[in-house]
């Protein structure tokens, strides 16, 4: 199986392949079509010629020419072969290209699958020395962003389309008239691209007086800035979490929302992995205000309001740092956290005991002083070069958005160039950015969407050019990954909407040559990787430049920066009211992924909310403010919450309350990235805009907020999991490390119920038929590795053509995810322990779903898979009722073929694009009733190897059957007249499931259980192996490895057992009803 392709004989390069299509995309007809069709709807789009044209450009694939009005026995369908076959192209054989997805400070190296010319699946590049092929949900979802029909697609001046050439001419003119650059300002996003740095330097040389600003709404660069200060040399930290035995996270969600989370997860999971009872594992302490994934995975967690986090860190510093003249200041600072000494003391002790193998991490929300303090502590712990390395990094531009806003308002900026970002939406509210931006005479804005920052008729900039930004899958470029490795960004498809890249715009403004992005990237590479064409090709093929990782710099700590910062640090003001934490959303980031349906529907890893953000409050605070009343809607996962008004410094927002166990009291959590005013069809109406409360002083923490209940409880929140307790059932089994060492097979003993019979009354026919199977597939999920990042969910959605269903449907528990992450709380509701468990089809050998299906739609194959035949399914839904794991999902509506706001409308009485839906459907049943642009784009992202399910059909995890079958076919094609057709891990022919491939923690292991040497067989042999609900005798092929916690007995919150484990223990133990403990809503609600 070649989900990761074998090395190509000839490196594939994008432009060669797509060059022919460049020209087509440049034709006036195409531009005209794009400009006319996409925003306006698709009246003329029915013309088969233009449609054919489009598809040929996009996918160069077969297409159906629709229903001919023939009297024939079946509709005439046509095949359009190439007039001239592109090189190295075989229709139906996917190709794989290496590229990278840029992030703020780094990039994720990727391998992208291209099915007949259209990118369909993103995987991490496993060959990277600092990677394992794992990715994060954002990277997995990026491929959907490529086909977002609401992306910017016009070169527009003051909101009117002017055509590409006019825009490029304007840029050239700008470069000619810029003079020395005075009055010219650039506002960029953070980037690790060497090419951009090169162009920037060149432009700065040419326009020395130009202003440069780099703005991120959520700035993850603080670690680099403070490290550079502390070491007096431009360096950035690189955390080797796998080397650490004791980790303390100080409001640092390194598993969730920090930079390079998937890399952190990989290393963290390595440090937590257990294979036998001799193994040791790391211990994680977390101090945080919100309940984050890091807190979920922590062995000890201290919840503190934001104002106490720095004091707690200071207190810790006092106990670790050698006495110095800073102690006085630290003591002042830390006084507020005195109450938590019992927690901080043993934690500090543990860190010290493990000096050299311990690490303290500070999160992006903390002030620089806290970061410097953490650096000092790490120095004191001897962490440097053991658990943290410092890599040389280029100095970055000071953001100083406030300065730019002031300059704009003061009229010092005539021309403002905004490349990426969306400051009009997410800039601090006190800057009044939209007004400031309008003060510039000319604004050039490159953006992926026509969003808030795009031309706004209500404000009066003299001229604003809005340029469509190409997606990274359409772009040439380069980036550096977290460890500094250079990775290419190469296009897999020509810009669908004719977008251009940041590099092009910069080159044009700078009047630089070459100005094509390919040449720019190529030239940059020359300076790094040498002039050789072969090196370039190898670089493109491999997806990274070997040996380009930044070496560890030898650094010398200078405590003076810390002293300075501490002196500046204000002691926590004792304001009344509530404190606020603004945080980067796990899905929307700072709003940039707002129109991505996969991400909108991906449940938040902790709250499990979809399509919304909320005003997060701790249960006690909600109770105190009398807004904890929660009423369930008539439907399952819909919650009607109090809408509250949060006021901070005379600015206020309204949003629904979400009671979040484990939050710090008197603290409000507000996720950024929602409530967008100008966004696409997907993101419209999702959540509220928390940016409106942010000011330059209070970017991440704020105090003195007032919360007022509006009394309105009509707002609905949709969550994917409405019950939070495990009810003492041994679903997720866990033990502490000590118990595990005493009894490694503890998980198998946690059975609440004996099976009624020891063995079935009759032999399983699978025992006979599986002799025909060459393999026996199985899955093992290590709960000790899984951190709950949810990358698997999006990967599965992408691989298996799983539709999104919209907020209303999620509220009715009709979401379609084949793999979900169940999150359970245990213990006191104010400060619970939480666990997360991937749940997917367990592929039971005695599958209860199968025997109740009246039409043989779900059955077993010879290799032990529980297979679902969609085309045979009539939709009795009995299988789902009888599935104890409830992993089957039903297509209640035609999610793939109807717009989500039309679901409830009968096609008999509804129109789309001005056409009667029934007639549209009759004309082209595949297309159904999506608006033309959505239909044309949505089908491009589909995996051609998986059926797209229609309404009325049950679906579920197939263990990526399509990958298995393709691997088997590949083996057979290769075998020809030999009998060697069995896949084996030794030969690297066993496929990976999409979830497995995406998992940075390597928690999911799939393989052939009949091969004793396979990884899955070994995993299943571990003593921690257990089966969920084994007493039902369903004999799942999917097993779990129990979770092990590693608490410190000296800690005040130490518990001998994780809680609660078995029903007996639950019933006899100290824990009262979990319902009352974990349901903040009170007893009546659920």
């Amino acid at each position: 199986m070649k989900t990761i392709p074998p090395p190509c004989h000839e490196p594939e390069t994008g432009p060669k392949y797509w060059r022919g299509l460049d020209q087509v995309a440049e034709t006036p007809e195409f531009r005209q079509w794009v400009e006319r069709e996409f925003p306006a709807g698709a009246g003329e789009w029915t013309d088969p010629v233009s449609r054919r044209h489009f598809v040929r450009i996009m996918s160069a694939s077969f297409l159906l020419a629709g229903l001919g009005a023939t009297g024939c026995r079946r509709p005439v369908e046509k095949i359009y072969p190439f007039a001239k076959m592109p090189e190295n192209y075989v229709h139906g054989v996917p190709q794989y290209f290496a590229t990278a997805m840029p992030s703020r400070r780094g990039a994720t190296a990727l391998i992208v699958k291209s099915s007949d010319g259209r990118p369909t699946k993103i995987e991490g590049n496993p060959d990277l020395p600092d990677g394992n092929g794992g990715t994060d949900p954002l990277a997995q979802a990026a491929v959907l962003g490529l086909y977002d029909p609401d992306r910017a697609m016009r070169f527009a001046l003051n909101g009117e389309a002017r055509g590409r050439q006019a825009a490029l001419d304007a840029l050239t003119k700008l470069s000619e008239t810029a003079g020395d650059g005075s009055g010219l300002a650039f506002l960029l996003e953070q980037s690790s691209s060497p090419s951009r740095a090169r162009l920037q330097a060149a432009i700065a040389g040419k326009f020395p007086k130009a202003r440069w600003h780099v703005y991120e709404a959520v700035d993850l660069d603080l670690g680099r800035q403070t490290a550079s200060l502390a070491y007096k040399t431009p360096v950035e930290p690189y955390f080797k979490l796998d080397q650490a035995r004791v980790i303390l996270s100080v409001d640092c969600d390194f598993i969730g929302s920090e930079e390079n989370a998937h890399g952190n997860i990989r290393r963290f999971a390595q440090g937590r992995a257990l294979e036998g009872k001799e193994d040791s594992m790391s211990r994680l302490y977390a101090v945080e205000s919100l309940f984050t994934l890091t807190g979920l995975n922590a062995d000890h967690r201290l919840r503190l309001p934001p104002s106490l986090i720095v004091p707690a860190l200071a207190r810790l510093a006092l106990k670790i740092l050698a006495p110095s003249d800073m102690d006085g200041k630290l003591r002042d600072l830390s006084a507020a956290a005195q109450a938590h000494d019992s927690w901080i003391e043993p934690c500090a002790q543990d860190l010290k005991t493990n000096a050299g193998r311990s690490l303290v991490l500070a999160g992006y929300r903390l002030p620089p002083a806290a970061h410097l303090l953490a650096i000092a502590i790490n120095e004191a712990l001897g962490a440097v070069n053991h658990t943290v390395e410092y890599h040389t990094a280029p100095a970055a531009i000071d953001p100083d958005l406030a300065g730019l806003a002031a300059a704009l308002k003061g009229g010092q900026v005539q021309t403002l160039v905004i490349l990426g970002g969306n400051p009009a939406y997410n800039a601090p509210a006190d800057l009044d950015w939209p007004q400031a931006q309008a003060k510039a005479k000319t604004v050039v804005r490159l953006g992926s969407h026509e969003d808030e920052t795009a031309w706004n008729a209500a404000l009066h900039a003299d001229a604003q050019w809005d340029l469509p930004q190409a997606h990274f899958l359409e772009s040439w470029g380069d980036a550096r990954t977290a460890d500094g490795t250079l990775a290419p960004i190469q296009p897999l498809i020509d810009p669908i909407f004719g977008g251009i890249t940041e590099l092009e715009v910069l080159a044009l403004i700078g009047g630089l040559t070459p100005s094509t992005p390919y040449e720019i990237a190529r030239e940059t590479f020359r300076s790094i990787g040498g002039d050789s064409e072969n090196a370039w090709r190898k670089y493109l093929h491999d997806g990274y430049l070997a040996g380009s990782a930044a070496p560890a710099a030898s650094v010398r700590h200078d405590p003076s920066a810390l002293a300075g910062a501490l002196a500046q640090l204000k002691s926590a003001p004792s304001q009344g009211g509530l404190e606020i934490v603004f945080y980067r959303d796990a899905k929307m980031d700072d709003g940039r992924y707002n129109n991505n349906g996969w991400l909108q529907e991906l449940p938040d890893p902790i709250t499990k909310l979809t399509w919304d953000n909320a005003v997060l409050l701790s249960p006690a605070t909600a109770r105190r403010l009398n807004v904890d009343y929660r009423k369930r809607g008539a439907q399952n996962q819909k919650f009607f919450e109090h809408t509250v008004e949060v006021t901070l410094n005379n600015r206020s927002i309204k949003g629904p309350v979400w009671v979040q166990p484990g939050m710090a009291d008197d603290t409000i959590g507000l996720a950024l990235g929602y409530g967008r005013q100008r966004t696409g069809r997907v993101g419209r109406g999702a959540g509220f805009d928390a940016c409106k409360l942010r000011t330059s002083d209070n970017l991440y923490y704020a105090a003195g907020a007032v919360l007022r209940d509006t009394g309105d409880t009509s707002y609905e929140l949709a969550t994917t999991q409405s019950h939070w307790s495990m009810e003492g059932r041994p679903v997720v089994r866990e033990a502490n490390l000590e118990q595990y060492r005493k009894d490694p097979a503890f998980a198998q003993k946690m059975k609440p119920e004996k099976p009624p019979v020891e063995s079935p009354l009759y032999p399983n026919p699978l025992d006979t038929t599986k002799l025909n199977g060459l393999h026996q597939w199985g899955l093992s999920i290590d709960l000790n590795r899984c951190v709950g990042c949810s990358a698997c969910m999006v990967a599965c959605q992408s691989e298996n053509n799983i539709p999104i269903v919209g907020k209303e449907m999620v509220g009715k528990s009709r979401e379609m995810h084949w793999i979900r992450l169940d999150r359970y709380y245990a213990g006191p509701v104010e400060d619970p322990q939480a666990v997360t468990q991937p749940m997917l089809c367990q592929h039971c050998e005695a599958a209860p779903c199968e025997s109740v299906c009246p039409v043989n739609a779900t059955s077993h194959d010879d290799e032990g898979l529980n297979v679902m035949t969609y085309n045979r399914c009539v939709g009795t839904r009995y299988c789902s009722n009888n599935c104890p794991y409830k992993v089957r999902r039903f297509n209640f509506f035609d999610y793939n073929r109807r717009p989500l706001d039309h679901l409830y409308k009968s096609p008999l009485v509804t129109e789309t694009d001005g056409q009667w839906e029934l007639l549209r459907w009759l004309k082209n049943p595949d297309k159904g009733n999506l608006p033309e642009d959505q239909w044309q784009l949505s089908r491009l992202v589909k995996n051609p190897d998986v059926s797209v399910r229609m309404r009325g059909v049950m679906e579920k995890c197939s263990l990526c059957l399509q990958r298995i079958e393709q691997a088997k076919i590949a083996a057979k094609v290769k075998a020809r007249d030999s009998g060697h057709i069995r896949l084996s891990e030794k030969e690297n022919t066993v496929p990976k499931t999409a979830c497995q491939q995406a998992c940075p923690a390597e928690a999911i292991v799939f393989g052939d259980t009949s091969d004793a040497g396979s990884a899955v067989s070994k995993a299943k042999k571990q003593e921690r192996t257990y089966t969920v609900l084994e007493f039902l005798l369903t004999k799942p092929r999917c097993t779990y490895l129990a979770r092990v916690r590693n608490p410190n007995p000296l800690m005040p919150d130490y518990r001998e057992h994780p809680m609660p484990r078995t029903t007996e223990e639950f019933n006899s133990g100290p824990f009262s009803s979990p319902e009352s403990e974990t349901e903040p809503s009170g007893k009546g609600a659920l």
């Binding site: 009759y762 026919p765 699978l766 038929t769 599958a847 025997s851 043989n856 059955s859 077993h860």
Partner: protein, 176 residues
């Protein structure tokens, strides 16, 4: 004038017709019948009708149904296309029993109804008696003894006398 089909004698009570029927039987008539608005208790004995054969039709139908069910299920699930389902045996008489059982009843019921219709030679929409105005009372509250003219014993005068002697107040000939 059309040929006569039978002679029809009307009685007013079940007892009277029961009595008459016994006598007609004793007289040795063969092509004759009694028509009543409801089945009169003891009439079968009085007329000398043997036990109905409908039961056999039903029995054969039931056996066919059960066999069909079992064979069909075995063929479909265990012979023609063997698909592994839920770890259950390809064919199990227990799982096959409910449908087979239902088919037994279905076919048995059809056997009974169709057997009854067949034995009664129904439907027969046209019948000489149904043209007779007086005979319409046979479904109301009158009881008739009808002796067909085709009966070897039939004689226009003697038969009429016999029927009259048995208490009939109204006797008439029925046209073909």
């Amino acid at each position: 004038m059309p040929a006569s089909y039978a002679i029809l004698a009307e009685y007013e009570t079940p007892a009277a017709v029961l009595h008459a029927a016994g006598k007609v039987r004793d007289a040795g008539y063969r092509h004759w019948d009694v028509f009543t608005p409801f089945p009169v208790h003891g009439m079968d004995g009085a007329m000398g009708i043997r036990n109905s054969k409908v039961g056999w039709f039903s029995f054969i139908g039931g056996c066919t149904g059960y066999t069909t069910g079992m064979l069909m299920i075995w063929f479909m699930n265990a012979y023609d296309y063997r698909i592994v389902i839920g770890g259950k045996p390809m064919f199990s008489p227990f799982a096959a029993f409910p449908p087979s059982y239902e088919l037994t009843i279905l076919f048995g019921a059809f056997g009974a109804l169709l057997g009854m219709l067949f034995l009664n030679r129904l439907p027969r929409l046209h019948h000489p008696l149904l043209k007779n105005r007086r005979f319409a009372m046979a479904t109301h509250d009158r009881f008739f003894v009808v002796i067909e003219t085709s009966d070897p014993q039939y004689s226009e005068i003697e038969t009429r006398q016999l029927l009259e002697s048995l208490g009939s107040r109204h006797i008439e000939m029925v046209e073909e």
